[in-house]
């Protein structure tokens, strides 16, 4: 019950400088990441501008050429899954591991060869 009785707050220890550090520090973290946000928000436009200029020089129709550049993530994921499944189906590498594990064959009247041979139907 008295576990935290020894915790004593000392409001006098807090100076304006400390509060300023906290506020400025938090603001600067925001500022740094805000700069990243602004830059990377504009980056695709800058890259597309460069690409459009290049295509214009080459005389290619801009829209047709740039359209293929923006494949949605879902389409990419579907293509990747299809390729993965296809490659998994190829079976080009067999494990080639031989085992001597006993394969249990539980015969029943329905699948036993001997049963079928010996208990054939008589007319």
């Amino acid at each position: 019950m008295n576990l935290f009785l020894w915790i004593q707050l000392n409001p006098d220890a807090l100076k304006a400088d400390h509060l300023m550090l906290a506020v400025i520090g938090y603001s600067v973290v925001f500022l740094a990441l805000l700069l990243l946000y602004v830059f990377f928000r504009q980056l695709p436009k800058l890259l597309a501008f460069n690409l459009r200029r290049k295509l214009r020089k080459e005389g290619e129709p801009e829209k047709a050429a740039t359209a293929g550049n923006a494949v949605p993530g879902e389409v990419n994921a579907a293509i990747a899954t299809a390729i993965f499944l296809y490659l998994n189906e190829l079976h080009d590498h067999e494990t080639a591991v031989l085992t001597i594990t006993k394969a249990a064959k539980s015969y029943s009247p329905w699948n036993s060869k001997i049963y079928n041979v010996t208990h054939f139907r008589r007319f």
Partner: protein
């Protein structure tokens, strides 16, 4: 007979104290959590075992050069990497080589959540000052809220080396306890409707963008907070190794062998640094309490800022506030928590990809925060 008595006096049985037993139990607890529940096993197993190493009793001050704080001991040599802040940048190199920043580049506004979730760092800094810690100590304790072990160790090694053990153990413990600490806060601060918000799928990112990210990321953040250069420099360098696709061997080493070696040494030495005589103090208990609060404030900061952003966003651009909690940089655990909480609200709502964006932004944010603290206080 004298020889036998002398041998016994050197043995652990003769030197054991209640503190040793408590610390050994804590170490065993860490190992149990890691193996039984798989809570951050790559960290908790080395740290837990390090605690056992550091707290196996022996006759201290007998010049045996065994303890981590004894000059000349092997553990002391390894510990220099912690004290001098060598290991954290190397860990960041590996993290950079492992991290895919695509989700962040595809939806850059989520970067801001990584900034908002550093709230705990600065509120805890104030809290620690109020509790009587010195200015540098308070900053080192506050950084626990960044939920980034290497950053916490890096800052503590510069500002308050005597608290490294407590701060590192607190930081890593809370990182491991992300799935327990965060969900109640996330549920408390969000409505059922908000938790069901479906975000639009991220666009595909070009190779050019991926290569430019580490370069401009470093320049933009480094110019603002040069104090974070050792961490962010290595983080972005590691990422460039990965994304350039021409340094595959270097990237492979950074993200496999190198980070594994450093993690092992860092974990063991940090664990061993928690010797009962120096660790079981009132200060350590306070650091644990403040660390937990710091973590909670950071989680709340991310969630609340996501809600704030939603005021200005419309339709499919809205953000599921659960991913705000991933702004603390416990990668990828806090993103996983956002995913599982999202699935509880709507089993068809997968938030993992979206949550990874604030999660990796949090790594950058906490490193920037550490850099700022260093610039102010060193």
């Amino acid at each position: 007979m004298e020889g036998i008595l002398r041998f016994l006096s050197y043995s652990g049985f003769a030197n054991v104290t209640a503190g040793h037993i408590i610390m050994i139990l804590i170490g065993l607890g860490f190992i149990y959590l890691a193996i039984r529940y798989e809570y951050e096993p790559l960290l908790l197993v080395p740290i837990g075992f390090g605690i056992l190493i550091g707290n196996t009793p022996f006759m201290e001050h007998a010049g045996l050069q065994l303890g981590i704080y004894e000059e000349g001991s092997v553990l002391n040599y390894l510990y220099q990497g912690v004290l001098k802040g060598i290991y954290p940048p190397l860990i960041f190199l590996g993290i950079g080589a492992m991290t895919d920043f695509s989700t962040l580049i595809s939806n850059p506004k989520l970067i801001l959540l990584g900034a908002a979730a550093q709230l705990g760092i600065f509120t805890t800094y104030i809290g620690a000052l109020l509790l009587g810690f010195t200015n540098p100590e308070s900053a080192s304790i506050g950084i626990i809220g960044g939920a980034d072990g290497p950053t916490a160790i890096f800052l503590a090694s510069r500002l308050a080396p005597h608290l490294i053990g407590s701060i590192a153990v607190a930081a890593y413990s809370y990182m491991a306890l992300v799935p327990i600490i965060q969900p109640p806060i996330m549920r408390l601060l969000t409505t059922e409707k908000e938790r069901r918000i479906k975000m639009k799928p991220p666009r595909s990112v070009t190779k050019q963008e991926k290569v430019l990210f580490p370069i401009f990321g470093l320049l933009l953040t480094g110019f603002i907070a040069p104090g974070s250069l050792p961490l962010l420099g290595m983080l972005f360098f590691g990422n460039l190794l990965k994304e350039s696709l021409v340094t595959k061997r270097l990237a492979d080493t950074a993200k496999n062998a190198l980070i594994d070696i450093v993690t092992i040494i860092l974990g063991i030495t940090v664990g061993a640094s928690t010797q009962a005589t120096t660790f079981l103090t009132q200060q350590s208990m306070l650091i644990f309490v403040l660390g937990a609060l710091s973590f909670m404030f950071s989680t709340a900061g991310g969630v609340l800022f996501a809600k704030f952003m939603n005021i200005f966003l419309s339709g499919e651009n809205k953000i599921n506030p659960l991913i705000g909690a991933a702004g603390v940089s416990a990668v990828p655990d806090s993103a996983r928590v956002a995913q599982s909480e999202g699935l509880k609200a709507d089993p068809s709502n997968h938030l993992l990809m979206h949550a990874m964006a604030p999660n990796v932004a949090g790594v950058i944010g906490s490193a920037v925060a550490a850099g700022i603290m260093m610039s102010f206080l060193l």
